[in-house]
């Protein structure tokens, strides 16, 4: 259809004007229809986001009280809260980020400042991209195999390690991108002063790219804070108050998962409250990170 619209009308000379006018009308109608469909598609996307947020606020807002933040999980009907899942999530996310960020930072630096387009760098870049999109449940299975089975049980450490594996490729990607944005004249100026390369990188390049790298870290935190699947087989979840990293540890997503599937009204309400807390946290971090990034570019 579109191929014909490109060629001039091919009718005889007497029909030319008529055919051209009809063709023009058809082309405008097609264009208008496609445009309308695109408006509808975008509106549908926005409505979906709105629908999720409204559902969360509708069900979660009434369930949120001070109690949620100050009481530990209790059996259904006895007025428990979400204190230990919240603390557990904070601890595991913090440790996972603390382990994953330095590794990701070094890898990103290696790719941008040292190896650039060597075969090894291309392999690392490829593998990091695969890790970025690999199913997170498989990372959970992997950590189960290497940290849970040999060390005799589910633990907060294993959960944090699984999250760290997810953090690494996110930080790698942003670090490399941000370092590559820096002009080479900056590097040449530092080298010309006689500074060694590692000082050039740590004192100048990292600083110049700091806000961009921080954005990557924020996005990584936002991503792992809501991760459920990798924690199922690593930190397992714990309905009792426990801060020990060597024991199974509670986390907000896992608690939401088990509470939402339960038949108890008050547990389901708590699951909504937890869902609202996580979503607001994650979306908040994302908005901050994206605004910061846009400001730089």
């Amino acid at each position: 259809m579109s191929a014909t619209t490109f060629s001039p009308a091919t009718g005889g000379p007497t029909k030319d004007a008529k055919v051209a006018a009809a063709l023009g009308r058809r082309r405008r109608r097609v264009a208008a229809a496609v445009k309308a469909a695109c408006y509808a598609a975008t509106a549908a996307g926005l409505l979906l986001l709105l629908s999720i947020l409204v559902t969360l606020f509708w069900n979660g807002f009434s369930a949120i009280s001070l109690n949620v933040f100050t009481t530990v999980t209790k059996p259904p009907g006895s007025g428990g809260g979400l204190l230990n899942p919240i603390i557990g999530s904070l601890i595991q996310t913090a440790i996972g980020t603390a382990i994953g960020t330095p590794i990701g930072l070094l890898v990103g630096t290696y790719l941008a400042e040292y190896a650039k387009n060597s075969p090894l760098a291309n392999a690392v870049r490829f593998v990091s991209d695969i890790l970025l999109s690999a199913p997170s449940i498989l990372i959970g299975l992997f950590v189960y195999q290497v940290l849970v089975v040999p060390f005799g049980g589910f633990s907060g450490w294993a959960g944090a390690a699984a999250l760290a594996v997810i953090v690494i490729p996110i930080v790698v990607r942003t670090t490399e991108d941000m370092l590559r944005l820096l002009p080479d004249t900056l590097r040449e100026a530092v080298i010309a002063l006689g500074a060694p390369k590692w000082k050039m990188i740590t004192l100048v390049c990292w600083r110049a790219a700091a806000s961009g790298i921080m954005t990557g870290v924020l996005l990584a935190i936002a991503r792992v804070a809501g991760e459920t699947a990798p924690l199922l087989f690593t930190s397992l979840g714990n309905l009792n108050w426990s801060l020990s990293l060597s024991a199974p540890m509670s986390s907000l997503p896992i608690t939401i998962f088990s509470y939402a599937g339960s038949p108890y009204e008050d547990w389901i309400a708590l699951a909504w409250a937890g869902a609202l807390i996580i979503t607001l946290g994650v979306l908040g971090l994302n908005i901050i990170a994206r605004l910061a990034l846009r400001g730089r570019k």
């Binding site: 579109s2 264009a31 695109c38 996307g45 986001l49 690999a134 590692w198 459920t228 994650v282």
Partner: protein, 327 residues
């Protein structure tokens, strides 16, 4: 990158130029080594994931051989495990999700690059990207408590009523309206991969040189004709890469699917029938698997199969997107 370049706070302070240089050389070697080791660590990490999943599944692979992949039987009591149904469910839900998501993603990308007024592009683009940030478990809850009732009460009865009696396609819409099932899972997956595909499409549409588009507009093309005849041919390869990226994401999605797919180990001809996916089986049955049991091995074997499938899809996606990545 208009930001002022920060001045290094510490100028090199070595007592002599020579001393400074030698400490710098040692520091350089250490730092370069640390960066290189970190890079190799990432390589080893992926290798270790593949090897560990394979070793974990070895017991099941040995016990069932090739029939582990083809058999549709999954009977924990009789200790017979086959991945057929979950592989089928994984592929069908992911492909259906793409069928739903790709046209919508194209619409969003078209809107964001050609139709939207400049001031709306950033906020609308960001809102669509935020869909990607919402955790999987939230989609699961939203789907389970909002979409599933909607499906079982309105949408599925409508389809069953209208098409259930027809020959051939009636099969697709047969069965009771449970609300959960393959169709609902694919719908939720479509919403989850929409932002990834839309963002990639938008980014590659923006790489089309303005001169090309202006030439087409200059010939009198409508916006649709410009996109259809100039933008899409120019970006075709990358667009397919973006779709593959969405496919890779959809294949491994766990929590949302687990909530809504119905979790039954059977292949149903009806779109509304229940099913399962590799990820949902692993997530649900892992708790019941004893350490060292054949079942645990079968679950790890499932993980290995999922890894192989998503590795191929993601590698293909990256290959197709390479021109964009390089730029």
């Amino acid at each position: 990158m208009q930001q002022a370049v920060p001045v290094p706070a510490q100028a090199p302070r070595g007592p002599t130029a020579l001393g400074g240089r030698s400490s710098g050389a040692a520091g350089d070697a250490v730092f370069a080594l640390a960066c290189r080791c970190a890079g190799i660590f990432v390589l080893l990490l992926l290798g270790a994931i593949i090897v560990e999943l394979f070793l974990g599944g070895l017991q099941a692979f040995r016990a069932f051989g090739l029939s582990f992949v083809t058999s549709t039987e999954w009977d924990p009591v009789a200790e017979v495990f086959g991945a057929g149904v979950s592989i089928y469910g994984t592929v069908v839900t992911a492909v259906l999700a793409l069928i739903f998501a790709v046209p919508v993603a194209f619409g969003v990308a078209f809107y964001l690059t050609e139709l939207a007024p400049a001031w709306l592009r950033r906020p609308v683009g960001m809102a669509i990207e935020l869909l990607a940030a919402i955790p999987s478990i939230i989609y699961g809850m939203w789907g389970f408590f909002l979409i599933v009732p909607l499906m079982s009460m309105h949408i599925q009865p409508f389809f069953i009523d209208k098409f259930g009696e027809l020959p051939l396609i009636g099969e697709l819409f047969a069965g009771p309206p449970f609300g959960t099932g393959i169709f609902t899972a694919a719908l939720i997956l479509a919403i989850m991969v929409l932002p990834f595909i839309a963002a990639t499409m938008r980014d590659v549409f923006e790489t089309v040189p303005a001169v090309y588009k202006e030439s087409a507009y200059g010939l009198g093309c409508t916006q649709w004709e410009v996109v259809r005849n100039v933008v899409l041919p120019y970006t075709r390869v990358s667009v397919v890469g973006g779709i593959m990226l969405g496919l890779g994401r959809a294949l491994g999605e766990t929590m949302a699917v687990t909530f809504v797919i119905g979790n039954a180990n059977r292949i149903s001809t009806s779109l509304f029938g229940p099913g399962n996916t590799i990820a949902s089986v692993v997530a649900l049955e892992f708790g019941e698997a004893q350490l060292g049991s054949l079942k645990l091995s079968a679950l790890l074997g499932l993980g290995f199969i999922l890894f192989v499938i998503s590795f191929i899809v993601l590698a293909a996606s990256r290959f197709l997107l390479r021109t964009r990545l390089r730029g």
